[in-house]
C-alpha cells in the first residue's frame, strides 16, 4: 500500500473548500474598498492591490482576479497578459469605467473570462458576476483533470504511478479531503493507494461488499453514504474488481459530482485495463525472449556436444593415419575402440535430436498401448544397455505385473534413464532398478549413487533445453535432451515422470505406467528387436487396433 503526501494541486483554483478567493486590482481606494466589502459580504475571501506590480505579486492562492482596465502607468490588457503567463493562472474579469465595447472585445480576446462596467448598480451585480465566472473556471479546471486522466489511459506504464494519478485526480476533481483506491484481492478489497489522511471509517468501507458483485462489463453507478462517496471501477477485460472511496471535507455531494465521478471512474477503469494489457504483453515478450534465449543456448550447446565426439573421431583417425605403422598393436586397437565409442555417442545424439525434432513438430505418431509383462520388458531394456552398464552394479527388482506400454518407447525411456545414471555416477557404483505397484499404476525407479542434483536443477531437469543450458556450466558428456525425451515418451504412454535427488548422494528418476486390466493377456516381446508381434488374444482382449510398431 502506498501512502501519498497530498501534492499541491496543479491549478490554484481547484481547491478543497467552496470559498472563492478573489484579488481586486483597483487604483481607486474608494472603489477598491467598496468592492472588497461587497465580495466579503457574499462569503468570499478577498485581497486587494492598487497597482500592476502589487497585483502580480499577490496571485498565489487566488482563484479569480477583478482587474481594473486603467491602472497607473500601464493598461489592464498588459497586466492580463502577464497574469496569463503564470503557470497556474487565475481567471480574470476585466473591470472598466467606460463600458466601451472595444475595450470589452480587447479584454476577451486577451483571455479575460468576463467583462464588467462600473456603471450604476455594478456593486450589486458584483458577487453574482464573480460566482458565475468562478463556476466557469471551475468547470474548465475539472475538464482539464479529466483530460489528464484520459491521457493516462493511453500512456501509463507503471502501476504505482497510475494508482497515484487516479487518487490525486479524484481528490482534486471531487474536492476531497482523502481518497483511497482499493482493488479486489482474494475476494476482498485491499487499499492500494491512500491520498490524504487515512479516514477512520476506512475499515467499514473495506468490509462492505456493496457494488462488488457486478458482472464483467457492468457499470455500477457511484453512490454516497455517511459523508463519503464510493465509486466502483468498471470491470471488463479481465480487470480485478476496484473501488474508489472519496471523503469530503465540508459540504455534501451534488448530482453533478456523482456524474463527474462516474465519468472519472470509466476513465480510471480504462487506464487500469490498458495497463494490465500492457503488462501482459510485456510478460509475453519476456517469455518469448526466454524461449529464444533457451533455443540459442541449446544450439550453442548442442553444437559443442556434436563436435566433441567428432573431434575425437577425427583426432584418433588422424593419429592412426600418421603413426599407425610405428604403433604397438594394442595402442592401435585402443584407438579404434575409442573411435567406435565416439561414433556410437554421435549416433545416439543424432537419434535423440531426430526424436526431439519430431516431438517439437508434433509429429510423434500416436501409439496404441499394449499389455506387456513389466519385468520382461525392463530386463530386456537393461540387456540392451549392457555395454554402458559394464562397470556398474545393477540390481533389478520389478514385479511381473502386466502394464500398458509401447515397447519401443519404453526401451528408449529406460535406456535414457540408465545412460543418465551411468553418466553422473562413478565407476563401480550401484544402480538400482525397482518397480512398485501403486493403485492402478506401476512406478519404475532408476536410482543411482551419483553426484545428484541441486533442488533448482531437479525442478527443471525434464525441461527440453534445461540440460543444454545447464551443461554450459556443468556438463557431463551427452546431448542434454535425453530426459526431455523420456518425459515425452512416458507422457505418450499416459504416465508421469519425476525425480528425487540429493547432491552428493544420488538421484532417483521414476516414471509410471498404467497396469493392464486383469483380464487382458500380455503380448509377447520379441527379444533384441524394436518389432513387436501382436498376439491374437491381446488384439481381441483390449487393443484399439491398427497398431504397427516400428
Amino acid at each position: 500500500m502506498i501512502e501519498l503526501t497530498p501534492a499541491s494541486p496543479p491549478t490554484a483554483s481547484v481547491h478543497a473548500g467552496a470559498t472563492i478567493r478573489v484579488l481586486v486590482v483597483e487604483d481607486s481606494i474608494d472603489h477598491q474598498m467598496l468592492m472588497v466589502r461587497r465580495l466579503r459580504a457574499a462569503g468570499m475571501k478577498v485581497t486587494a492591490a492598487s497597482n500592476a506590480q502589487d497585483a502580480l505579486a499577490s496571485l498565489d492562492g487566488v482563484d479569480l482576479v477583478l482587474l481594473d482596465y486603467r491602472l497607473p502607468g500601464t493598461s489592464g490588457i498588459e497586466v492580463l497578459e502577464a497574469i496569463q503567463q503564470r503557470e497556474s493562472a487565475p481567471s480574470v474579469i476585466m473591470v472598466t469605467g467606460t463600458g466601451s465595447i472595444d475595450v470589452a472585445v480587447d479584454a476577451m480576446r486577451a483571455g479575460a473570462i468576463d467583462y464588467l462596467a462600473k456603471g450604476a448598480g455594478y456593486l450589486d451585480a458584483l458577487p453574482e458576476v464573480v460566482r458565475r465566472a468562478w463556476r466557469h473556471h471551475d468547470l474548465a479546471a475539472r475538464a482539464t483533470e479529466l483530460q489528464r486522466l484520459a491521457l493516462l489511459v493511453s500512456s501509463a506504464t507503471d502501476r504505482d504511478e497510475l494508482f497515484g494519478e487516479i487518487v490525486s485526480g479524484a481528490r482534486r476533481l471531487l474536492r476531497a479531503s482523502s481518497c483511497v483506491l482499493m482493488l479486489g484481492r482474494h475476494g476482498r478489497l485491499t487499499p492500494v493507494t491512500v491520498l490524504g489522511p487515512t479516514p477512520d471509517d476506512l475499515n467499514e468501507v473495506l468490509a462492505s461488499d456493496r457494488g462488488l458483485d457486478a458482472g464483467a462489463g457492468e457499470v455500477v453507478a457511484p453512490w454516497t453514504e455517511d459523508g463519503r462517496m464510493l465509486v466502483p471501477l468498471p470491470r471488463d477485460g479481465g480487470m480485478a474488481v476496484g473501488m474508489l472511496a472519496v471523503w469530503r471535507r465540508d459540504d455534501g455531494y451534488g448530482e453533478g459530482d456523482l456524474e463527474l465521478a462516474r465519468t472519472f471512474a470509466s476513465f480510471a477503469g480504462m487506464a487500469l485495463r490498458n495497463l494490465r494489457q500492457r503488462e501482459l504483453e510485456l510478460q509475453l515478450v519476456d517469455e518469448l525472449q526466454q524461449t529464444v534465449d533457451a533455443r540459442r543456448d541449446f544450439i550453442a550447446s548442442i553444437s559443442h556436444e556434436l563436435r566433441t565426439p567428432l573431434t575425437c573421431i577425427s583426432g584418433f583417425a588422424q593419429t592412426l593415419q600418421e603413426h599407425s605403422d610405428v604403433m604397438p598393436e594394442e595402442q592401435r586397437a585402443d584407438m579404434m575402440q575409442r573411435i567406435m565409442r565416439n561414433a556410437g555417442d554421435l549416433h545416439a545424439l543424432v537419434d535423440d535430436l531426430i526424436h526431439l525434432a519430431a516431438l517439437d513438430r508434433g509429429h510423434s505418431a500416436p501409439v496404441a498401448l499394449r499389455p506387456y509383462p513389466l519385468d520382461t520388458l525392463v530386463r530386456q531394456c537393461i540387456g540392451d544397455a549392457e555395454e554402458i552398464l559394464a562397470d556398474r552394479v545393477v540390481t533389478i527388482d520389478v514385479p511381473h505385473d502386466v502394464v500398458m506400454a509401447d515397447p519401443v518407447l519404453l526401451r528408449r525411456t529406460v535406456g535414457n534413464l540408465l545412460t543418465n545414471a551411468v553418466k553422473f555416477s562413478a565407476s563401480g557404483s550401484r544402480i538400482d532398478v525397482r518397480g512398485t505397484i501403486d493403485g492402478g499404476r506401476v512406478r519404475v525407479e532408476v536410482q543411482d549413487q551419483g553426484i545428484g542434483l541441486e533442488p533448482r536443477e531437479a525442478a527443471r531437469v525434464f525441461d527440453p533445453f534445461f540440460r543444454a543450458v545447464g551443461s554450459v556450466a556443468n556438463a557431463v558428456r551427452g546431448s542434454g535432451i535425453g530426459l526431455a525425451l523420456v518425459k515425452e515418451y512416458v507422457r505418450t504412454m499416459d504416465g508421469a515422470v519425476g525425480v528425487s535427488s540429493e547432491p552428493g548422494v544420488g538421484s532417483t528418476f521414476w516414471f509410471t505406467l498404467l497396469l493392464a486390466p486383469t483380464n487382458v493377456a500380455p503380448a509377447d516381446v520379441v527379444p533384441g528387436s524394436d518389432q513387436t508381434q501382436m498376439q491374437p488374444e491381446a488384439q481381441a482382449a483390449g487393443s484399439t487396433g491398427g497398431f504397427v510398431a516400428s
Binding site: H304, T308, G315, Q318, E322, V472, A475
Partner: protein, 151 residues
C-alpha cells in the same frame, strides 16, 4: 641481479573430464620437445581445486607449475575453478591455460575476465594438439619465466 632457474621438470595439472581429450593432451605433453613434464590429471572441477589446495585425496601432493583447464566439467565448472584460484592471493601466481574446444567469444571473454593467463582452443589429432601445447610450453619455459609454485 636475481636470476630464476628453469625447473628441470615442469609439473602440469590437467583438468579434463573427457577421457579422449585427456588421452591426447597427456600424450602431447609427454612428447613435448625441450622440456620434461610431469602430468597429473583430474576429471572434474572439484578435484582440480582439491589438488591445488592439497586437500582430500591430494594431501601432500606438490603444487603444479601450471594448469591446463577445461571449461565444461562436472561438479565445479572450469570458470568457477579459474575464478577461485585467481582470487586466492597465494595461488593466483600459478599460470593457467584454459584449453577448451569452444571458440565462442563469450567463453573466451569470460575466461579472461576470470583471470586466465591464456586461452587455447583444443585442436584435433595428436600432432596438432602437440603443436599447440608445444607453443604454450615454449612460451612459458623459453620466452617467459615461470614463477615458483607456492609452497
Amino acid at each position: 641481479m636475481m636470476t630464476t632457474t628453469v625447473p628441470d621438470t615442469i609439473r602440469i595439472l590437467v583438468a579434463e573430464d573427457n577421457e579422449d581429450h585427456l588421452y591426447f593432451i597427456t600424450r602431447a605433453l609427454e612428447g613435448l620437445d625441450g622440456v620434461q613434464v610431469e602430468v597429473d590429471s583430474v576429471r572434474n572441477g572439484a578435484d582440480a581445486l582439491d589438488f591445488v589446495y592439497r586437500r582430500g585425496e591430494f594431501v601432500g601432493r606438490q603444487r603444479p607449475h601450471m594448469i591446463l583447464l577445461d571449461l565444461k566439467m562436472p561438479r565445479v565448472p572450469g570458470l568457477e575453478v579459474l575464478s577461485q584460484l585467481k582470487s586466492d592471493p597465494e595461488l593466483r601466481s600459478i599460470p593457467i591455460t584454459v584449453l577448451s574446444s569452444s571458440d565462442r567469444p563469450e567463453d573466451i571473454d569470460a575466461s579472461y575476465r576470470n583471470g586466465t593467463n591464456t586461452y587455447v582452443v583444443k585442436r584435433t589429432g595428436l600432432s596438432e594438439m602437440k603443436a599447440g601445447l608445444q607453443a604454450v610450453s615454449d612460451y612459458w619455459t623459453d620466452v617467459a619465466r615461470l614463477p615458483e609454485p607456492p609452497l
